[in-house]
């Protein structure tokens, strides 16, 4: 493996390039096809679909079916979920590492157990809860069930475990209490892991489908992911239009991945090795 004779090296490159083509093709295809013109049939069927000012393909989508509204619709819950998960996970992880809790193992086990319960298995009662509270079609309804994360707690705990005890002691000697230490020393130094968790949460929140499908009813409240599904059923004749919607949904996450990739890699392994 390491000796890398020319043969094996060429093979590796070949393998990677072939896989790369398979990975990137749908991405490329999706984004380029978004700029295709509509078929003539589609155009005649929907002559008034473009209002003034909608010149480019993507903007045609947004003008017609208010996809931008759908994107905006997703911004608040995504932010709420991301911030919520990072905050609650950081607090809990801190307690599990630095506080002398009684039955610490039990509590941590309880947190971990939430990772093993599939959300679909509890979605019906959650739906009933949120609708009884009158939170359907609200940001709160979308975000509430996801404000804490067993995975996030686990990730941050692993990272905190690797934190040098000398720094902890130094902070204590200087009179820093728990919250002070957490806020001014631990969190700034754990930035890569926090970023990793944030990106991960944001990606999952943005890409949610089942839950928003249930708790949003009015089209104006629906998220882009669901909008795409509907575009796709109602505009099956016009792949360009549908894919334009896809691009709209994809841009934020693509940016996150491209610019956050190093955090994802570094952050998820940070704290793995002490």
């Amino acid at each position: 493996m390491r000796t890398s004779s020319t043969g094996s090296r060429i093979f590796t490159y070949l393998f990677l390039v072939v896989l790369l083509l398979l990975v990137v093709f749908p991405v490329y295809y999706g984004s380029s096809a978004a700029s295709w013109g509509p078929r003539t049939a589609t155009r005649s069927r929907r002559p008034s679909s473009r209002s003034a000012g909608c010149t480019r393909r993507t903007s045609a989508t947004s003008c017609r079916s208010s996809r931008w509204a759908a994107v905006r619709q997703l911004r608040a819950p995504t932010a709420a979920i991301t911030i919520g998960q990072v905050v609650t996970s950081a607090l809990a992880a801190y307690a599990f590492v630095f506080l002398p809790l009684r039955k610490r193992g039990l509590w941590f086990g309880l947190f971990l157990s939430t990772m093993m319960i599939p959300f679909e298995a509890i979605i019906i009662p959650n739906y009933l809860t949120v609708s009884t509270w009158g939170l359907k079609n609200t940001v709160a309804g979308l975000a509430l069930p996801f404000l804490a994360s067993g995975f996030g707690t686990f990730l941050l705990r692993q990272s905190f475990l690797g934190f040098p005890t000398e720094l902890r002691d130094a902070a204590r000697v200087d009179g820093a209490g728990h919250l002070r230490f957490l806020w001014s020393i631990l969190l700034p130094l754990s930035r890569p892991t926090l970023a990793a968790l944030g990106i991960y949460s944001a990606l999952s929140a943005w890409n949610m489908y089942f839950w928003p499908l249930l708790v949003t009813e009015a089209p104006s409240d629906q998220t882009i992911q669901i909008g795409i599904g509907q575009l796709q059923t109602s505009d099956g004749q016009d792949p360009g239009l549908v894919l334009a919607g896809v691009v709209l949904a994809l841009i934020p996450t693509l940016l996150l991945v491209v610019f956050g990739q190093r955090f994802i890699v570094r952050g998820l392994t940070a704290g793995a090795v002490k």
Partner: protein, 285 residues
């Protein structure tokens, strides 16, 4: 101020939206449901009896198993292969890493839509390519003999877009991490990282992603791609739950809850096996 209740916010959320619903799911599964979705009294095991005597449910389970096997196995294999290939000293490794991370960005909704266009029998790229080698147009999404194979294939294709690739960075991560160690361990990558702390991360990330795989991912792609058809051959457990509880205002919450309980038990069993195996390798090897 010595011991602030720091885990409390998370605990409240879990209590309200994980543990309470868990209990309520089980309770609901023993209850009937009236036509507008209100619980209509205790019915004992009726929902379960109905479920297990329903041939559709058997089919649903089979489809789910086939779906999971056809997606998880290739995606792990491919992820490992990518991870191994990325382990060598390679020019442009940054580029490759970023490129392979791209599908992270796809939601299953977006990926499904892209693949639906690819699969389009008349104008899709796949049939276009097939016609070059002289194979007639294939009705990818509607041919009743193929949908499961299609699911798998789409999923393999899409594993590039979702499952596989999300695990690819995972295993690539632990592999890359371990690349600082003597290279002689490299080919044993499957066994090697398990004694490595990074394996705990992989172990935490991978099963989770794969549970996400047969879970919500599945619902999205099935809802978008095939709507459970043809002839229920792509109806999996999660889709069935959705179908019973929410589709067309069915509101059959009791019966759907019984299926949800089955889903829960299956996932717990799989997780237990996963942990059993991992545990042995990680700690006692």
């Amino acid at each position: 101020m010595d011991r602030p209740g720091l885990p409390r916010p998370a605990l409240v959320v879990f209590a309200l939206f994980v543990f309470y619903p868990l209990v309520r799911s089980i309770v609901l599964s023993f209850q009937g449901t009236d036509i507008i979705g209100r619980p209509a009294g205790f019915v004992g095991g009726d929902n379960y009896a109905q479920m297990f005597s329903d041939p559709d449910f058997g089919q649903t389970i089979l489809v789910t198993v086939a779906f999971v096997v056809a997606t998880v196995v290739p995606s792990i294999a491919i992820a490992l292969a990518i991870a191994l290939a990325l382990q060598g000293r390679i020019r442009g490794i940054r580029f490759f890493r970023t490129a392979f991370a791209l599908p992270f960005a796809f939601s299953v909704a977006t990926a499904s839509v892209v693949f639906q266009v690819l699969y389009n029998p008349a104008s899709g790229v796949l049939n276009g390519l097939l016609s070059y080698i002289g194979v007639g147009p294939v009705q990818w999404l509607t041919n009743p003999t193929w949908p499961c194979g299609r699911c798998a294939r789409r999923r393999c294709g899409c594993s590039w877009a979702t499952t596989c690739s999300s695990s690819a960075p995972g295993s690539a991560r632990s592999t890359r991490r371990s690349s600082r160690r003597p290279r002689s361990t490299a080919p044993r990558v499957a066994a090697q990282p398990v004694d490595h702390p990074a394996a705990h991360h992989a172990a935490a990330v991978l099963p989770r992603r794969h549970r996400d795989g047969p879970g919500p991912a599945e619902l999205r792609q099935i809802k978008i791609l095939t709507v459970g058809g043809p002839e229920r051959r792509t109806t999996t457990l999660v889709y069935s739950i959705y179908d019973q509880a929410f589709n067309n205002n069915n509101s059959n919450f009791g019966y759907a809850s019984a299926q949800a309980v089955v889903l829960l038990l299956v996932v717990l069993a799989v997780t237990a096996v996963q942990f059993g195996i991992l545990e042995r390798k990680v700690f006692y090897r």
